[in-house]
């Protein structure tokens, strides 16, 4: 089997190449970038990173992004938990249609919502706040969270619920003390995906913010449009955005494949 191991290795090398190039550039001075073509920094510099860590317009971008992603994950998963429970355990008027309608929102092109969101969130005075982006991302994150959680919950036998009632648990106590620990893995997976899709999304995040809540993505594109002058800085900013993602994957590495495989798959 060793000879076939070449395929994943080649693929991973392919994946690492642009990342390596980005990191490479982040440690170079602008002069070196524009002047020579080098596979590693001849004039190694930390200036780009220092700028980012000391300039509020830069590091605030990260805070803003992490803020709205965090808020969104909390809102999405919290709202999805009772809903998923209902879909998993109960029949009610319109349940199948509701579920389908939720899924269709995952299929909505963000571009379609750019302008209407701009108007809507301005109208409710939430424009340029992390909350606006967090709420906007609920559009596609909540259906996803419901879908994932429902899959996990359906794997838990109803007998567990019934036993708890017989033992005298009230519903809230049962849900918090017994049910949630049972589906902890599912909650982890749902949080992971909410984090992922909110962290990477740019269009809505940019549209709904301008100065105060500007995400790192917007700060970067401003730099990119001054084509070429601040490539090193851009590269450093980009490299830093990879880190939270890498962390998150590392922590959920055992659940990645498992999460996909449960329920619906």
């Amino acid at each position: 089997m060793k000879k076939i191991a070449a395929v994943p290795i080649l693929y991973i090398l392919f994946l690492m190449l642009p990342i390596y190039w980005l990191v490479n550039m982040s440690f170079k001075t602008t002069n070196e970038i524009l002047g020579t073509f080098s596979l590693y920094p001849h004039e190694f510099t930390l200036d780009n990173y220092i700028t980012i860590f000391t300039d509020p317009t830069w590091y605030n971008g990260y805070f803003n992004s992490l803020t709205y992603v965090g808020i969104n994950t909390v809102i999405s998963v919290s709202a999805a938990l009772p809903a998923a429970y209902a879909f998993s355990r109960y029949r009610f008027v319109g349940d199948k249609h509701l579920f389908f309608w939720l899924l269709t929102n995952r299929m909505a092109p963000p571009a379609v919502f750019a302008l209407p969101f701009f108007q809507l969130y301005s109208a409710v005075n939430l424009f340029d706040t992390p909350l606006a982006v967090a709420l906007a991302h609920c559009l596609f994150n909540i259906p996803l969270a419901v879908w994932i959680l429902e899959g996990f919950m359906s794997g838990v036998p109803k007998e567990l619920d019934e036993t708890a009632y017989v033992d005298g648990y009230s519903f809230p106590r049962f849900f918090v003390r017994i049910f949630i620990p049972t589906i902890a893995a599912g909650i982890g997976v749902a949080c992971f995906f909410c984090f992922m899709f909110s962290w990477v999304e740019l269009l809505l995040a940019k549209t709904l913010t301008s100065v105060a809540a500007k995400p790192i993505a917007a700060t970067m594109t401003r730099t990119a449009s001054t084509s070429g002058y601040e490539l090193g800085l851009l590269a450093a900013a980009g490299t830093l955005t990879i880190i939270p993602g890498a962390f998150v994957i590392y922590f959920v590495r055992n659940y990645i494949a498992k999460g996909f495989a449960l329920g619906r798959v």
Binding site: A79, A83, A86, F113, P143
Partner: protein
């Protein structure tokens, strides 16, 4: 499998979800529908136009062009990423520490903000200072994605393959892992060749997973905006202006509310229709 109890109070459970999603979906959509059938000359005065905008959009060459580009793009993406993803998943280790390492490394492109993906590839593919651009030109091929439409397409597709194939790999891998060993053992005993094992055991058992992968990749590539926008800005010229990019130009750039709204609805409908077809196929299999 349905041992659910009927409970009208269930609506309280789904209320938060309904409120949050409806707020984000229904109100904007109503706005869009509103704009799509009206004309405005400013000052918030609207005139009913009926289906005029829809006709305009559906007949406009610009729309045909960007729709055409989008369809070609999505087709190429699906044709490359799905088989490639499956092929890689087939060769991945099945157990041991390497599994985690592989999965983590492969998942990394998926968690990079989309604008950084675009920016990364921009830097990577620049003809003089980017590793890829420099290398291709060093081979004697004249390559500049900022000026040549073919190079722009090539780079955009390569970027998307780099970005999203891992999703297919992860899904396919999960599907493969769920096949019990006994199937492979039985195939060995039956004397089956590797191709037969793939065709009769692995592929059928991965059907559900592959449907999800194809559905997701179709939807996301059809709605793609950020990465190509940051990479090429839609150019050179219009050559990589896909549907979302065009729509945003019309809506936020030109503020042509009517045509933008009509285009939005048509766009949404296309995605819904194709996705619905896939969804039905998927559900049909489950009933069998």
């Amino acid at each position: 499998m349905d041992n659910k109890t009927t409970n009208p109070k269930a609506w309280f459970f789904v209320l938060p979800v309904v409120v949050l999603v409806a707020f984000n979906a229904v109100i904007p959509l109503m706005t869009v529908v509103n704009y799509s059938v009206q004309e405005t000359f400013g000052d918030n005065i609207f005139f009913w136009e009926g289906v005029k905008w829809f006709e305009t959009v559906l007949n406009s060459e610009r729309f045909h062009a960007s729709l055409g580009r989008q369809l070609i793009f999505t087709s190429i993406i699906l044709a490359i990423e799905v088989p490639l993803g499956v092929a890689i998943a087939l060769t991945m280790p099945k157990k041991g520490v390497w599994v985690s390492v592989c999965l983590v490394l492969m998942a990394m492109p998926l968690l990079i903000p989309w604008n950084v993906v675009g920016a990364m590839w921009n830097i990577f593919a620049l003809p003089d200072i980017g590793l890829l651009g420099h290398s291709i030109n060093a081979l004697g091929i004249d390559y500049n994605f900022t000026r040549q439409p073919f190079a722009a397409w090539f780079t955009t597709i390569l970027m998307d393959v780099w970005h999203w194939t891992s999703l297919v790999v992860l899904l396919a891998y999960a599907g493969l892992r769920s096949i019990p060993d006994a199937y492979y053992q039985a195939a060995k005993i039956d004397g089956a060749k590797p191709w037969a094992v793939f065709r009769y055991i692995q592929l059928p058992k991965m059907k559900r997973v592959l449907t999800i992968a194809i559905l997701l990749r179709f939807m996301d590539s059809f709605m793609i905006y950020t990465e190509p926008f940051v990479l090429t800005g839609g150019g050179p010229g219009n050559s990589t202006t896909f549907l979302s990019i065009d729509l945003v130009k019309v809506a936020l750039g030109q503020f042509d509310l009517g045509p933008a709204a009509a285009m939005s609805l048509i766009y949404f409908l296309i995605v819904l229709l194709v996705s619905w077809v896939f969804y039905t196929l998927m559900m049909k299999d489950e009933d069998q």
